[in-house]
């Protein structure tokens, strides 16, 4: 990896007397990176503590630690949020770390996804007999990478964050040591992820070549002050970076890995990937494309993003309805959700960014909740994911079936759930830009994917016994061992349910926060 010295650092040719010509080391503003530090140190400390204690610690300890760490990270964003609201956005450490409402909001979303996934993991690991701290450590480290990525104000830092985020998740995907599909998922994710990272890095290099800076504010200023006569290099850079981000957020046509990986990975990890990793990916995408290249190159990248969005919407929803594996269905549906969020990006406006952020928040609750239910239904071995395995759930576990129904209906965008408003805001943002056709396509694909959610509901509620004639009033028998709901998983589902419904019924506070959370680029001190 080539590390380019940021141009803001003066290059000192000869250092005869170090005290006479000080090397400009940027001041480290610890508070600006506090959330990322909390997550990272929390993860390392957890690893240290479990290594020092002789006896294996109980399973709940790791989960509680992780939840506490993520909560602490959320708390750390509060004073920063206040500072940003009072003094405006700033960027620290030679302009590499942006401190604005946007980065803090995404930090919060990532932490929420960590909390939900950790709660799901607790019971999962006990059930699968895989108890250990590594899962939580990796998740915390990956989350810290996501936070770095969300607050990166420099392409190199952004790449750094992306790698911290991804490497940990590659491992997490392969952590279920007894399921070959998990290992296959890990490998697949790693190979394709590394490939996409290379694309991103190549894009960064080309962008640097075209603009002379990796600093986002520097790029923005450069493009505002100069008109590139020959912008081929920059356009290639933009395209390559879009490919890199497209992989991370699983946008069509860079989505090939997602169904296999989501299906193969341990289910709580899938929840984290769908919620947290996607949020970080979108954060990077929004900051680089909307904020940095928004004012000058919108005309060039907007069609590209819009095309990705439409492809994701159509392919995601159409492919989802022909699946019979619920986990795979959710993977495809997450692709179509990515399409919706991409539309918010394509709007390239403040409203679009707010809509995308709101969507990410709601989506975190919906998808973590959905994968949470899938985790429980999977039962020992994490293998019961076919639609058949949901048959008759409404009788065996009426509460669980109802909760899943809420998540599914929320994902299809039924009002009074957060899912409706998420779609509503995105539609508003793109209609405001006059992109009526895109809005119509988005809503129609939402109907297509509604069919998929209905299929699961049909299996849970309406289906008769296997092989019975349709219309028989005979209720279906729920097959397989009974579903156990560990306390932590119950808590996670409860939180996700409250989040999903609250955002749909009392959206005011969250809407205001997303409105204030606009990304700004400022030149560092």
């Amino acid at each position: 990896m080539i590390i380019q010295v940021p141009p803001t650092v003066p290059v000192v040719p000869e250092q005869l007397d170090p005290s006479a010509v000080p090397l400009a080391v940027p001041e480290i503003v610890w508070s600006a990176v506090a959330p990322a530090l909390v997550l990272m140190i929390g993860g390392i400390l957890l690893l240290t503590v479990v290594s020092l204690v002789r006896k294996p610690l109980p399973s709940w300890f790791h989960a509680t630690w992780t939840v506490a760490t993520a909560t602490a990270a959320i708390c750390a964003t509060v004073p920063l949020w206040q500072r940003v609201q009072d003094n405006g956005a700033s960027s620290e450490m030679a302009g590499t770390v942006g401190l604005d409402g946007f980065s803090l909001f995404v930090t919060g979303v990532i932490c929420v996804s960590v909390i939900l996934a950790a709660l799901l993991l607790e019971g999962y690991l006990r059930r699968e007999d895989l108890v250990g701290p590594e899962w939580y450590v990796l998740m915390l480290l990956s989350a810290s990478g996501g936070v770095v990525m969300a607050s990166a104000n420099d392409l190199i830092v952004l790449f750094l964050g992306l790698e911290i985020l991804s490497v940990a998740v590659y491992v997490l995907a392969a952590m279920h040591s007894r399921r070959t599909s998990s290992q296959e998922a890990g490998l697949k994710y790693f190979v394709l992820g590394a490939f996409s990272s290379a694309f991103l890095l190549y894009g960064i290099a080309l962008t640097y070549g075209a603009t002379g800076s990796t600093n986002l504010a520097g790029i923005q200023t450069f493009l505002a002050d100069n008109v590139l006569v020959d912008n081929g290099l920059l356009l290639a850079g933009l395209a390559f970076m879009l490919v890199g981000f497209g992989f991370k957020v699983a946008a069509v046509p860079f989505h090939m890995w997602a169904p296999d990986v989501y299906q193969g990975a341990p289910t709580p990890v899938s929840a984290y990937m769908a919620a947290g990793v996607k949020a970080a990916g979108f954060a990077g995408l929004l900051r680089v494309f909307v904020t940095t290249f928004g004012p000058t190159y919108r005309e060039e990248w907007m069609p590209m993003v819009a095309a990705l969005a439409v492809l994701s919407l159509v392919v995601g929803s159409v492919m989802a309805i022909i699946q019979t594996n619920v986990k795979r269905m959710l993977a495809y549906s997450s692709i179509s959700h990515a399409g919706f969020i991409l539309l918010g990006v394509a709007a390239a406006s403040d409203a679009g960014t707010s809509a995308a952020l709101f969507y990410l928040l709601v989506y975190t609750f919906m998808v973590a909740g959905s994968f949470g239910v899938v985790t429980l239904i999977g039962r020992k071995g994490d293998g019961r994911h076919s639609l058949e395995d949901y048959r008759g759930l409404s009788r065996a576990r009426p509460g669980l079936a109802l909760v899943f129904t809420v998540f599914l209906l929320a994902q299809s965008g039924i009002p009074l759930t957060g899912g409706f408003l998420a779609k509503f805001y995105v539609i508003g943002a793109i209609v405001d830009e006059g992109l009526y056709a895109l809005a119509a396509v988005a809503m129609l694909t939402a109907v297509i994917s509604a069919f998929l959610y209905l299929r699961v509901i049909v299996a849970m509620y309406f289906a008769g016994p296997a092989g019975a004639e349709e219309g028989s009033e005979e209720p279906a028998e729920f097959a397989g061992p009974p579903v156990r709901i560990p306390a932590a998983a119950g808590l996670a589902l409860g939180l996700a349910l409250v989040g999903t419904l609250a955002l749909g019924i009392v959206p005011g506070p969250a809407t205001e926060v997303t409105r204030d959370a606009t990304a700004e680029l400022t030149v560092g001190n």
Binding site: P398, L409, S412, I414, P415, L416, F420, L421, K423, F424, I427, G428, V431, D432, Y436, A439, A440, M443, L444, A446, V447, A450, F451, L454, I457, V458, Y461, F462, A463, E470, G471, E473, P475, P507, G508, T511, E512, R515
Partner: protein
């Protein structure tokens, strides 16, 4: 007093919540709770009727609270002369549907979903904010989906899914239309963004082209819901497979969401586009009413026959409303209410027959009159009301709608009259085949109506007779609002003069300024 609308929406919802929190093994309490909650709502609605100022054109019982301040979305509700009787009918038909049919299994979710459905339906008729309207319009899908899917007959899964997807596909474009309308309106007037129906109606500022596009987007959603030919194919399936209460509610309430939407968000809010689209919609209405009637004649299944008769009646409503005359719109609203009563009663009766005979095939039913004379009498009355016999409640609405159509669009009216004849054909023929004829062995043991079943039908029969003889209480309350709509359309559309024969009457009266009144 001003809180009556929230009470009507929240009361059934609270009932559903109570049912949800009661353990499922206490199966005997769910029905009483449901009756209490829905009946209480009906009582509140009756109170609304007594408090309603009948001379007013504007909205009454208005509630306005901010929901999402950023986007100017508010919880704005109100009732005017048009929505008053739809709210009353909705509030009243639910306790009857709950009392008139029992679920075969899972009483707990059954009653909970029905109550949620009642809350949502009342919400649509009272909503005065586009987003609120959409929220309620869409939310009613979920309970109905579950009612059909869980307690339905035959191909219930197919019917439920088809119903859900059709309606959702329709409203998909509506959301885009709503947003486009609000944003373009805000751009044109320079006012902050608002989704308020009253504000937008009073000073619509979008361009003619945009207004027409938005109308198309909304009209597709309503046309699916109505359902208007050729988007009606979900209806026979959904109606036939739904449980009795579900069919009653579908016919009485949910179809009216579409026609009400056409009136409130179409004619009233987008007058220019409505005038522009009126010929097309009237044509579709006329096609629907003749096609529905012909299709009903051909049905072998009694319930499917009633379902197709709904397509025909709803065609009448559309024809009346888009004649853009006072009579036509009044007739349309009257049919909305009366169709709810008669078709609700018909579905209840068909449900009773099905409970006894486990078949709805007309060919398998014969001579029922001999074993069930009371049921035959009730069926006759309801059927004749549905046919539009003068003196029963079907007549005034159809007459007014036809009158409106004749003054505005004569040839559409001429074709529509054949629908009346066909209605007599299919219903009388069905009655004849089912209740007359030789009594076959399978039908010989059929029991007549029980006392409680008859008690459920009594209020419906009373209304059928009362509203047939004396529809004035309805007309005098809705007239100011309807005339205000016509005046509003005439003022907003240059060169448009309503072909309304009652025009002079309005010039003499002082209802003309009613259009300016936004708030009640």
């Amino acid at each position: 007093m001003t809180a009556v609308i929230p009470v009507m929406i929240l009361l059934p919802f609270l009932g559903a919540l109570v049912i949800g929190l009661t353990p499922a093994r206490r199966a005997e309490v769910f029905r009483p709770i449901a009756v209490l909650a829905s009946g209480g709502t009906a009582a509140v609605a009756a109170y609304v009727l007594t408090q309603f100022e009948s001379g007013e054109a504007g909205y009454q019982f208005v509630v306005d609270r901010t929901w999402i301040a950023d986007l100017g979305i508010s919880m704005h509700f109100g009732i005017d002369g048009i929505s008053l009787f739809l709210v009353l009918m909705t509030a009243g038909i639910f306790p009857i549907a709950i009392l008139g049919a029992k679920p075969h299994h899972d009483p707990k979710p059954y009653y909970a979903w029905l109550l949620i459905l009642q809350a949502g339906s009342i919400g649509v008729f009272c909503a005065l904010d586009l987003v609120m309207f959409f929220v309620f319009f869409e939310i009613v899908l979920v309970p109905m989906y579950f009612l059909i899917g869980m307690w339905g007959h035959g191909r219930r899964t197919y019917a439920a899914t088809k119903f859900f997807l059709y309606t959702m596909a329709g409203s998909a474009l509506m959301l885009v239309g709503i947003f486009a309308l609000a944003l373009l309106q805000s751009n044109a007037t320079g006012d902050p963004l608002t989704f308020d129906i009253v504000t937008i109606t009073d000073n619509l500022a979008v361009s003619t082209t945009a207004g027409r596009w938005i109308f198309v987007a909304l009209a597709i959603a309503f046309a699916v819901k109505v359902p208007l030919f050729p988007l009606h194919t979900w209806l026979p399936d959904a109606h036939t497979e739904a449980p009795t209460a579900g069919s009653v509610i579908l016919a009485a309430v949910m179809l009216k969401l579409g026609t009400y939407g056409f009136l409130r968000l179409g004619i009233e809010m987008l007058p220019e586009a409505s005038v522009w689209a009126a010929p097309v919609l009237m044509t579709l209405g006329v096609i629907g009413l003749t096609y529905g009637a012909i299709a009903a004649t051909m049905q072998k299944d009694l319930k499917r026959l009633v379902a197709y008769s709904s397509v025909a009646h709803l065609g009448f409503i559309i024809l009346g409303m888009f004649s853009l005359t006072t009579q036509g719109i009044e007739g349309g609203v009257l049919i909305m209410v009366n169709h709810g009563i008669t078709t609700g009663a018909l579905f209840l009766l068909v449900g009773m027959i099905y409970e006894r005979r486990h078949t709805r095939l007309i060919s398998e039913l014969s001579g029922l009159q001999k074993v069930a004379p009371v049921m035959a009498a009730v069926f006759t009355t309801v059927m004749l009301a549905s046919v539009g016999l003068p003196g029963l409640n079907g007549f005034p609405g159809e007459f007014l709608a036809l009158l409106g159509a004749f003054s505005g669009a004569r040839w559409w009216g001429v074709v529509a009259v054949t629908g009346v004849i066909l209605a007599a054909l299919y219903l009388l023929w069905a009655y004849q085949r089912t209740f007359h004829g030789p009594l076959t062995a399978e039908n010989a043991s059929m029991k007549d109506m029980t006392g409680s079943e008859f008690a459920v039908m009594v209020p419906l029969l009373a209304l059928i007779v009362f509203l047939g003889i004396y529809p004035t209480p309805l007309l005098e309350r809705m007239e100011p609002s309807v005339e205000a709509v016509i005046v509003h359309v005439e003022e907003s559309v240059p060169g448009f003069i309503s072909p309304d024969p009652g025009l002079e009457r309005r010039a003499v009266g002082d209802h003309g300024d009613g259009a300016e009144e936004g708030e009640g």
